[in-house]
């Protein structure tokens, strides 16, 4: 294995650990999962946090009209991602991490939810969620082993990238500011 691929795997592992920790999983005493099950688990936790984030944005009542319709459409797709990942985990008999009980882990990973006060700040937060999602999935596509799982993760990653572009467009920002879309952990707008 090359040094770079070792770094990729370590980065993927660090991301998985970070997301699991942020989401309050694994349960006390449970060993962290390794390999594809571990990457699936962290992806599922990421999706659950994303779903929680959009639910909070919609429940807050800041979005209306086309912006609300957009957020609802994205939320439906994020839920589909989570179901797809859960199906995989069931199929390979991997233990599913406990669902986060609040959006607090998301606020930890992406501060600013409590400061949302209007449609623009809600969409800005949504763009941050999508940047985080793109970054997360991009980090796990490399270390994954199972080919169909890689395809699924990449198909979800492409969808998250589309969300990001459309949300940025609604914000009046350049929807695609770079030819290579990697996402970021701490979006700067």
């Amino acid at each position: 294995m090359t040094g770079t691929s070792r770094r990729s795997l370590l980065a993927g592992g660090a991301l998985a650990a970070g997301l699991l920790a942020a989401a309050g999983a694994p349960a006390a005493g449970a060993a962290p999962l390794a390999g594809d099950p571990g990457l699936l688990s962290s992806a599922l936790q990421l999706e659950r946090l994303v779903v929680l984030g959009y639910e909070q944005l919609l429940d807050g009542g800041w979005l209306s009209g086309p912006e609300r319709a957009l957020a609802r459409g994205i939320l439906a797709q994020e839920r589909m991602h989570a179901r797809t990942l859960e199906d995989y985990m069931v199929e390979i008999a991997a233990p599913r991490p406990p669902a986060p009980r609040s959006a607090a882990p998301l606020q930890s990973a992406l501060p600013g939810l409590s400061a949302v006060s209007d449609a623009r700040s809600a969409l800005t937060y949504a763009a941050g969620i999508e940047e985080l999602s793109v970054y997360g999935y991009h980090s796990i596509v490399g270390p994954m082993s199972d080919d169909k799982l890689v395809q699924t993760a990449l198909a979800i990653l492409c969808d998250e990238g589309q969300h990001l572009a459309i949300v940025r467009e609604r914000l009046g920002l350049d929807p695609v500011p770079s030819a290579l879309t990697y996402g970021q952990v701490h979006p700067t707008g």
Partner: protein, 189 residues
């Protein structure tokens, strides 16, 4: 294996057809999947995959070239920006081929195999052609990324996400839903 030994048809059609045959849609239908053991696609040389990706990106560029004369105003400006990003995809793939495999003949070989899509006749048919081209590029990467060495997946994944973003923007310009699926797999039709 060097790039010049390859034929564009073999790579583009092989990769695209592969994408179709992979039944990625099964990702949403767990009963179709069996991953008791890791799923492995037919192995392909890494350099062949990257070279094929550059060919597909060149095909996308050729599509922009025939579409641009039919576009005006903001659509033309958008096309010019996204065309520049697709050009960067070719450049970055060539750089990676050179860095990883010492292939410096890729661009010259491609130049001997010019691509000339059927010209559109108006703005909407030009936009439809761009949607088709970006869809094809996504399908190629969805099929190919799992076959790549883990260390080489990062760039193609970032390119695939960018292509997916382009696709969403062009679909919106065509008054189609920008976010058409939770799993963005591309299409070869």
């Amino acid at each position: 294996m060097g790039g010049p030994a390859l034929t564009r048809r073999r790579l583009v059609l092989g990769g695209a057809a592969g994408a179709l045959s992979l039944s990625l849609s099964a990702c949403g239908a767990p009963s179709d999947k069996t991953i008791e053991h890791e799923t492995k696609l037919e192995p392909t040389d890494d350099d062949e995959i990257l070279y094929g990706g550059a060919l597909v990106a060149e095909e996308v560029l050729a599509t922009y070239a025939v579409a641009l004369p039919h576009l005006r105003g903001t659509q033309r400006a958008l096309a010019e920006r996204l065309q520049a990003q697709d050009q960067e995809h070719v450049t970055r793939l060539d750089q990676q081929l050179g860095a990883q495999f010492g292939h410096l003949l890729g661009a010259a070989a491609r130049a001997r195999q010019p691509v000339s899509p059927t010209p559109p006749h108006d703005a909407d048919s030009a936009l439809a052609l761009l949607v088709q081209a970006e869809d094809l590029a996504i399908a190629y990467w969805i099929d190919s990324v799992p076959k790549l060495d883990r260390n080489l997946r990062s760039l193609p994944a970032a390119i695939a996400v960018n292509d997916a973003q382009h696709l969403a923007l062009w679909r919106a310009q065509l008054r189609l839903p920008a976010l058409s699926s939770a799993l963005v797999e591309g299409s070869t039709t």
